[in-house]
């Protein structure tokens, strides 16, 4: 317990550092410098329908659901989020490969669920 108390300030400092910095491979980016992209999910579409990211650049995706629970799934970018009904979730992503990818809602949300998708382009 003594040791924990002794090192507590250092631990707290380290935690603070880790929350203000995002580690992306070998580079570190200040959280306030990370671009934020808002994406809205509403049966049966995402808005915007298409976003463009840069390879190697970290962005924060802020995902909102305006109605029921939706999914946000894109395996090549390791995105597999659940957006609870009426809520907002945030996820950081650093694309490592260029290409045009289809992101889908993978949480069944109604009759036209199968057509709910959007495009993410990585340049």
């Amino acid at each position: 317990m003594y040791r924990v108390k002794q090192f507590a300030p250092a631990i707290i400092f380290a935690l603070g550092l880790s929350t203000s910095l995002l580690f992306t491979g070998t580079t570190r980016v200040r959280a306030e410098d990370v671009p934020v992209i808002d994406i809205t999910a509403k049966r049966f579409a995402f808005s915007p329908e298409k976003i463009t990211l840069k390879k190697g650049q970290t962005v924060k995706l802020r995902l909102h659901s305006q109605d029921v629970t939706h999914g946000f799934f894109l395996r090549p970018l390791k995105l597999d989020e659940e957006i609870p009904a009426g809520q907002t979730v945030e996820v950081s992503v650093t694309p490592q490969a260029s290409g045009t990818f289809t992101t889908i809602c993978d949480h069944f949300c109604g009759a036209n669920h199968g057509n709910m998708n959007m495009t993410i382009v990585v340049e």
Partner: protein, 207 residues
């Protein structure tokens, strides 16, 4: 009297965790033996996401434990248990865990739906087969980039690319007709081509 067993798809059971389905058809996953073959129905739709889940996986392991590795086994499920086309939601997220259990059996076949087209696939000793849909078809995923779109509806050949529509029991001459009409096919095809045919139909019922 034939006994009919069902397996839910996501449109049958994805919105209410299978509550209404269970009321009409019974459990969403189960097993039974028939003439020396063990049949298993797996549910990868009622958790809303394409997954089987830990509870069902544990049930599966327990269900299979009494069988030798050579037992003849048939598995029914809705979504493919392998990555056929994940960006079209043609996969099961914990399908590898399921296949790790199933692949221990030498004579096991998986029959699945969801993709509205023929498909054959093999993972280890296990063969997977999908059959055509009754209402509309999806294209060969290997030839299409981008989002999934149904094969365009052809009014002159409304049943093109679709599956069987009549079934004869025990070879008797009286076929049991499937209760789908050309109107059902056309409406469903319209919905999946973006013209909101089904929604308009529901709002404006025929007089």
């Amino acid at each position: 009297m034939p006994i009919i067993k069902c397996v839910p798809g996501e449109h049958d059971a994805g919105l209410d965790s299978g509550a209404l389905y269970r009321e009409f058809f019974g459990e969403t996953y189960y097993s039974f033996d028939h003439r020396g073959v063990h049949f298993i129905a797996l549910d990868n739709v009622t958790r809303a996401k394409p997954e089987v889940g830990a509870q069902q996986l544990a049930w599966l392991q327990k269900d299979l434990a009494r069988f030798p590795k050579t037992a003849p086994i048939v598995v029914f499920t809705h979504r493919p248990l392998f990555d056929l086309r994940p960006d079209w939601e043609w996969f099961t997220s914990d399908g590898d865990d399921v296949m790790n259990v199933l692949s221990a059996y030498e004579n096991l076949t998986v029959l699945y739906g969801h993709i509205h087209r023929d498909d054959e696939h093999q993972t280890g000793p296990v063969h997977h087969y999908a059959a055509r849909s009754l209402i509309f078809a999806f294209p060969d995923p290997s030839g299409v980039a981008g989002p999934r779109k149904a094969v365009p509806f052809d009014k002159d050949h409304p049943f093109k690319n679709l599956g069987i529509r009549t079934v004869s029991f025990h070879g008797k001459s009286e076929p049991a007709s499937m209760p789908l009409s050309i109107q059902d096919v056309e409406l469903t095809a319209r919905e999946f081509q973006g013209s909101n045919g089904v929604h308009q139909f529901l709002k404006e019922p025929a007089v």
